[in-house]
Amino acid sequence: MYRTFRRGMIIIAASALLAACSSGGGGQPAAPKGDSTGVTATEILVGTHQPLTGPAAAGYSEISPATKAYFDFVNAAGGINGRKITYKVMDDGYNPANTQTVVRQLVLQDKVFAILNGLGTPTHTNVLDFLKTNKVPDLFVASGSRSWDQPQKYPHTFAYNPDYTVEGKILANHIKENFAGKKVCYMGQDDDFGRDELAGLEKVLGASGIVERQKYVTSNPDVGPQIGALKTAACEVVVLATVPGFTALSIGTAARLAFKPQWVVSNVGSDYPTLAKQLGANKGLLEGMLAVSYLPSPIDMSDPWTAMFKKIHDQYNGKAPFNGNAIYGLSVGYLFVQALVAAGKDLTREGIIAAIEKGGFKGPGIAPLRYAKDDHSGYGGQRMTKISADVQSYFGKVFETDSEGGPVIEFTGERPAPPTSSIPS
């Protein structure tokens, strides 16, 4: 036994040594004015965690290639301040356990400048503390959880999506005005995504305004029991706080149970081309589905921003479909470049955070971007969309609101035309 044990020790020693050797050197050149990890004279390295596989891959896996396409476009034009953007995408399969591993790899091993657009509420929530400890800019998180907007607690984290409570309030506002007296129900993801959305609904409709509440987990693709309960409760309007795969599952399952309520879907689970692809021959079930959005519509080529993105998309990401996910990824890339430009030539982590907190970004979105020193939330409003005759289009006013008790009001701010070079300056 002693021998076995001794061998054990030898192996531990050997593997540790191996690890030591393979890690190599690579000290950080400490810039005098701040932390410029991941930035060289010719390159900016940013990383992200995305669900390229797993239960949320449907639709969302198309976001990071679109962001990368925008960076490729900018790089081809010479980059920003002479620096090209390298975007390292890691797959976490929408599993929080994987997220914390891949983010550690990006930050500790690859030494990225920032984490950009890390996707998912349950996934990203679990790396907030780690990113804070390492003082890594955590920019434009791809989710609407209210956790991202805590400048006191997480000074490096900035949201991108309108938060789910804001979204819930805007959806509820529409329901209140157009479906008065109908039985309103809710089905959502069993995490902060669903909870924040429900909180928004309840702020407008009241707790008693929601007749039935159901929840799902992404590891269980059987939503039969939940949809059955919604049918039993005779729901007439069902609000879904679901990722695209589960929007399609819910609508498909309901159809099998001959249950056809008015669907009202969260922005993140409502992209028509994505859902239509999931439902295949049954895409007709999506007819009449209501949702919200805040970015240019992928089918509206009269929108100059859509036209601009389409051109870049066709050139650098042509094989992928040009849908809401592509627009989203391209818009995130655009905002990041805006932030880089604002941060100036001497790029540091402190500098980019200060630049974003200064705010004032106007871009593809139709709602206001709220960044300020004491506000790290992203877009602050949305506009309703409806699917009719295979086309998802905007209708009505653009609304904005807060995530507290404030009213849902019309947003009348102007959106600038895109720059002729398609690169912010």
């Binding site: 036994m1 076995t4 054990g8 020693a13 679990n126």
Partner: protein, 328 residues
Amino acid sequence: MTLQKHLIFTALGGIFLFAVTQQLEPFRNYQLATMAAYLCATAGLTILTGLNGQISLGHGALMAVGAYTMAFAQNGIGNLYLSLLLAMLATTAVGAIIGVAAARLRGPYLAGLTLAVALAIPAFTVTFDGLFNSEQGLPVSFTPPETLPIETWQALTAGGSALLVMFLLANVVSSRFGRAMRAVRDNEVAARLAGIHVARTQVLSFVISAAPAGLGGALLAFLAQNVSPGAFSLTLSLYLLLAIVIGGLGNLAGAVWGAFLLVALPDLTNSLTEGITASPELARKLDGNLALAIFGLTLIVVMLVAPGGLQSLVQRISHRIRKGRNHV
């Protein structure tokens, strides 16, 4: 005598661990810490399966018990060492319950029972989401020391715990109880005739194997600063079993190999997929599955080349070198 040697080597291991953690980069320290956490579980499992002949597909779930206990203790009380201890105690209790049932079952039935455990415990966290917060999981808060980098501290804590586990298990293996475990594995009737209480030995073996698994789970939660059911799926249980078979069943040194592979193989696959410039579609398909494929391939190759696992291969080689030296 054995005890002394174990003590000496544990002390040497401790010194070595300290020296290595000072040298490594943060990410390597994090990987070393993860390996140490896995080592706790694989060491426990290899004793159970290799020395006592009980198969367990549920050690991943036992790790989850440890991890969640860690989260509750850490967020409630906040003393790291107390939390680790509590996690181990809670898992010991759960292990005892499963062990009592397991002692009545053999072969595929035992595998079936532990498989149920592996599936049920993560499902618990979804069913009782008010307490466990479903798939999003719970944060594990702690205050890192200010004097050394957080990853170094994590590697020291996890490595120290693993050393302690190895020390204790090495003593169990060479003790009277260790011999009883082997006797029960080889022939229950003969063991009974020799005056060994078979059922008691089996239950105790399960408990002894569960406790370090719980500690390993708690360490994983401590490293990740959070705990979620996705980290403790059935795949983890299967990986643990694969790891100890590849390393060499019933062999503590083999458990080290296993833990090393659990950390190294996913890392290797990552660098592999990065090296290949595959189409996005293919890369997407590879990303999730390549690690599993490589693990399976490793198992097949190791079983063909060295049926006794990697450790037996090492033994064979070192034996041959020694023999060769004697001839000269």
